[in-house]
Amino acid sequence: MDELLQHIVNAVMLGATYALLGIGLTLIFGIMRVVNFTHGELYAFGGYMIFMLTAMLGVNFYLALLGALVLGIVLGAVIELVLLRPMRGADIDTTMLIMIGCWIVLQNTEQMIWGGVAKSIVSPLPGEPLVFGPISVAWLRVFVFVAAALLIAGTYALIHRTKLGKAMRATFQDRDTAALMGVNVSAINTATFALGSGLAAAAGALLGAVFVITPTMGDLAALKAFAIVILGGLGSITGATIGGFILAFAEEMGAGYVSSGYRDAMGFLLIIVVLLFKPTGLFARAERIG
């Protein structure tokens, strides 16, 4: 029983960061129809930014987190303006190739600047864990959970409560009609890509503090993000949030009770099962065709 409770706590902590990763990716796909292969690199970028700010420039840890988010938004906006905007109207394969190229360039740049050896961040949170009876969890994990939850809630509020969010939803439903109604679709694209990128960078900064930062840290993260998005249904924010938690539970319980060697396979097994019965994912909205 104690073990089960501990697994549940672990899965919840992990699920929040998975959800954060998934939301950024699903937003970009849903609104822009771009398969964003740079998502994992923005995640790694966030990790390196918090490392640069805290370890090299001596910035306060919490400010550095915010800094990583803002720099992620800026990098995302630059990628959209320089690479994606000129490609509007190109087919999905062409933009996909461009994004793959951008992924390789970003990863190798990170490697060139910071080298291949892992970097570690010192957080200001206490090293001793928080203990509730048989359950024990690091303060940093609790902080990461809260921060991720706030970011997810913030994204929800932005999408559902602001004018920008309304324009985004309109673009998602029908790009042409939205444009005819006066929505600046180009600006929405930039905003969406910047927001998605910022969320990935924030996830990288948060998890970079928990784990270690390496140039290839984004590869596994991107793979998981794609899994979460496919599981939840492409373009669905609710789907990505729930998908993140489902993946975390599948991995945690799979590793705990089936076989730890197959931990990463558990999530993908689950996806195969879901797609067999619901090929659009769990929460995909029906698309308007034409």
Partner: protein, 383 residues
């Protein structure tokens, strides 16, 4: 007058340059290491050690009156890349001998290429027992097998009061091999073996495995992985409140890095290592050990890397000694010479005994194994 002088100077310069290249044609040695990816720290340290050895050898006049040149390639912590690197080093750079490939999985992947091109490789880190018993006559290993580590550790089991042990190992030839031989050794000593948990080499969240281990009634946890993942395990185990005697194997743990990055979470852990830079006087070749540590510091490499860096140094020294013995930089001559090569490396005596099936034996040296303990942020030699 001035112009003539200048022309003369240029002529002398050009002549010297020609003489230099003429007298010192380079002997190439391939180095196949993970310089990026999940185990990059270790691969970089090994490479740094190799560079120190090469510079030292060249400063003393090189090998066979020629300078040695390391051709260093990154295998990206990936067995497929390790094979591509080996092929590139052999075919394009035409190296007569190589050192590599750090992880047992990468080394095992490279081994068929050694047979194909008939080029010998000195294995500096890999510890899977499989490597030297698979009948590959181009393999010469200077690192201990997991079996040797287990044997060396056997007489400490009583002193550490181990009654029941769990394992958490990286899910590859190295980790699973270590779990097998250490379990066997412990069972022979009457110690119970509990859970054997595995983890992907790139995995960063190990809470699931550690939570499962927490629910077991064992008193000791054996861990086999490289320093990056080990740091995460120690931190996460501490956060989960896992109270166990932790013993790590494999020699790639860099205790100083654990102290720096895992802090109090590293306290009380034991580590099996093959070079103790804290006490160079305790090694078989104290003068060389001191000089190596001094040179490492002079180059500004982190002290934590020394426990890994010595492997590269010993590997290149072994190769240089073999080339000298062979009398020429030819793969077959070097392979034959390795059998008669004997030297004292930083770890101790290096000499190859036959291992594996008759007629196609691999070479295996029998290195020294040290046990160190981290106590209050300090490393002490436990033996």
């Amino acid at each position: 007058m001035k112009a003539t002088f200048r022309a003369g100077l240029i002529a002398v310069g050009v002549a010297t340059a020609f003489a230099a290249t003429g007298a010192f044609a380079q002997i190439k040695i391939g180095v196949n290491q993970p310089l990026t990816g999940p185990v990059a720290a270790s691969g970089n340290f090994v490479t740094n050690g190799a560079k120190i050895a090469a510079d030292e050898i060249n400063a003393k006049g090189g090998v066979l009156k020629q300078k040695i040149e390391l051709v260093i390639e990154d295998n990206k912590s990936n067995p497929t890349e390790a094979v591509a690197v080996a092929e590139k080093l052999i075919v394009r750079d035409k190296v007569p001998v190589m050192m590599g490939a750090w992880s047992s999985t990468y080394t095992l992947a490279v081994m068929p290429k050694l047979m194909e091109y008939k080029v010998p490789m000195v294995v500096e880190t890999s510890s899977s027992d499989k490597i030297t018993v698979s009948g590959n006559p181009y393999i010469f290993r200077i690192s201990p097998t997991s079996g040797m580590e287990a044997t060396a550790f056997a007489d400490r089991v009583g002193a550490l009061k181990i009654r029941k042990a769990d394992f958490l190992v990286v899910n590859n030839d190295w980790g699973k091999g270590a779990a097998d031989v250490f379990s066997k050794m412990l069972k022979d000593k009457g110690v119970a073996v509990g859970a054997v948990e595995t983890m992907d080499a790139a995995a960063q969240d190990l809470n699931a495995q550690l939570s499962k281990i927490k629910s077991s009634d064992a008193d000791t946890l054996f861990i086999t992985t490289a320093v990056e993942q080990l740091t995460l395990i120690l931190k996460q185990a501490h956060a989960l409140g896992l109270k166990r005697q932790i013993i790590t194997t494999g020699g790639s743990q860099s205790p100083d890095q654990l102290i720096e990055q895992a802090g109090p979470a590293a306290n009380g852990s034991y580590h099996l290592l093959f070079f103790p830079p804290w006490v160079p006087e305790a090694t078989p070749n104290p003068a060389a050990a001191r000089a190596f540590v001094a040179e490492w510091r002079k180059r500004g490499y982190p002290f934590a890397g020394l426990t890994e860096g010595f492997r590269g140094y010993d590997g290149i020294q072994t190769i240089a000694a073999a080339i000298t013995k062979a009398g020429k930089a030819d793969p077959e001559a070097i392979r034959a010479a390795l059998w008669n090569t004997e030297l004292t490396g930083l770890n101790g005596r290096i000499a190859f005994t036959k291992a594996g099936p008759a007629g196609k034996e691999s070479g295996q040296s029998i290195p020294a194994v040290y046990v160190v303990k981290i106590d209050n942020g300090k490393v002490t030699l436990a033996r």
